[in-house]
């Protein structure tokens, strides 16, 4: 029954991916990353995505720190963080996160602090959703690799 397990897991993965595409959470750049993964670099996607998570959380912390400061006025710095966040999000195909960054940047260019705070909340929410879903995806993939590696017992 292990063979069926592999197929079922692959179907689960595809279903989740299709959902994320349909929701606009991911775009074709994510597929491009998957195409870059092969036997010579079997964990490429999760490696890049983990770097993205690490950097994104730093950026989110910086953004929140800046905006929560009572004497905050450095919208330019917000813009710099957002450009970084936008760039890396687009590079991994995180479409919805990137789009929120665009709206966030517009608010910061208008020196709109309330708008920035709202955008930050939305950004944290979208990022959380993305991270959970990608973890789910990698988990299914891991299960699939394990299931595919298990051999049937030899009949003597």
């Amino acid at each position: 029954m292990l063979g069926l397990g592999v197929d079922r897991l692959r179907a689960d993965m595809n279903r989740l991916l299709a959902l994320l595409f349909h929701q606009g959470v991911l775009d074709e750049q994510f597929l491009q990353l998957q195409q870059l993964q092969d036997e010579s670099s079997p964990n490429f996607v999760s490696e890049v995505v983990n770097i993205y998570f690490h950097e994104s959380e730093k950026l989110l912390r910086n953004l929140r720190g800046l905006l929560m400061d009572k004497e905050f006025s450095d919208y330019k710095k917000i813009g710099i963080h957002l450009n970084q966040f936008m760039g890396s999000s687009s590079s991994i195909g995180a479409k919805r996160v990137r789009n929120v960054c665009v709206a966030f940047r517009a608010a910061s260019e208008q020196n709109n602090r309330a708008g920035c705070l709202r955008a930050l909340e939305l950004l944290e929410h979208e990022y959380c959703y993305l991270k959970n879903k990608l973890h789910e995806l990698f988990h299914i993939e891991q299960q699939r690799v394990l299931a595919a590696g298990v051999r049937y017992p030899m009949q003597h």
């Binding site: 870059l36 092969d38 670099s41 970084q84 687009s90 517009a106």
Partner: protein, 236 residues
């Protein structure tokens, strides 16, 4: 006389000088030369990982650095160093750099490279997440080979081979047609597939910047323009 001859316009280094010979005005390298070496410059670690993988999977050797300053150091162009030769001895066949970087922008890096007598011949490609026409024009005017809008895809990287100092394979004499057309290429005007400044190519040899698979020269068309190849995504 039958022989396989690989003709390359790569900048000569110590390793190739020993084996290169001059035949009919072209530098000749033994067939099966090493992979092209690309210097990738991007301050984003995510982007560095991606571009590195894109390049490796396309059979390039890659060195990835995080700033224009480090790129210049790698080339040996840093003001603080007196040497004018890349200290690690590896020649660079193409530089691909992000535009927006803290400190030195990709544009400033491009200018420094084009101002250098040693390195101005290295093709430079700019990457940017912003599709701003004035920015693109500035870079192309300064001598960039192409301008890629991020996110960078495999198709973009495969195109980079077109900007390398070209290799043209001349088959044995029995394969007359191919050889003839290759000779035709050398005699006719080179087809311009980019708007790179030609001030650097003042030598008598005309640059063989034609696609490897072509058997006949084509006059430059709007389709060859780098602008057409840009992803015309709407600006925010």
């Amino acid at each position: 006389m039958e022989r396989n001859v690989v003709v390359s316009r790569r900048r000569k280094t110590e390793t190739t000088a020993a084996t290169a010979a001059k035949i009919d005005g072209f530098d000749v390298l033994p067939a099966g030369s090493e992979e092209a070496h690309v210097l990738a410059v991007d301050d984003s670690l995510v982007d560095r990982k991606v571009i590195e993988r894109l390049l490796k999977i396309s059979s390039f050797k890659v060195t990835a650095v995080d700033s224009g300053r480090r790129a210049l150091q790698f080339l040996g162009l840093d003001e603080e160093k007196t040497s004018s030769v890349g200290f690690d001895g590896l020649k660079v066949d193409l530089i691909i750099t992000d535009y927006c970087m803290p400190g030195m922008t990709g544009y400033e890096l491009l200018k420094k490279i084009k101002e250098s007598s040693n390195f101005r011949e290295i093709p430079v490609v700019i990457m940017s997440s912003e599709n701003i026409l004035t920015r693109i024009d500035r870079c192309l005017e300064e001598g960039a080979e192409d301008f890629i809008v991020k996110p960078v895809k495999l198709a973009d990287v495969k195109r980079l081979k077109d900007y390398m100092m070209r290799e043209v394979r001349i088959e044995s004499e029995s394969n007359m047609n191919k050889r003839k057309s290759c000779c035709d290429l050398t005699e006719s005007e080179p087809s311009i597939s980019s708007s790179s400044s030609s001030s650097s190519s003042s030598s008598s040899e005309s640059p063989l910047r034609t696609p490897i698979s072509s058997s006949a020269p084509s006059s430059p068309t709007p389709l060859d323009s780098p602008i057409r190849r840009l992803k015309m995504t709407p600006t925010e």
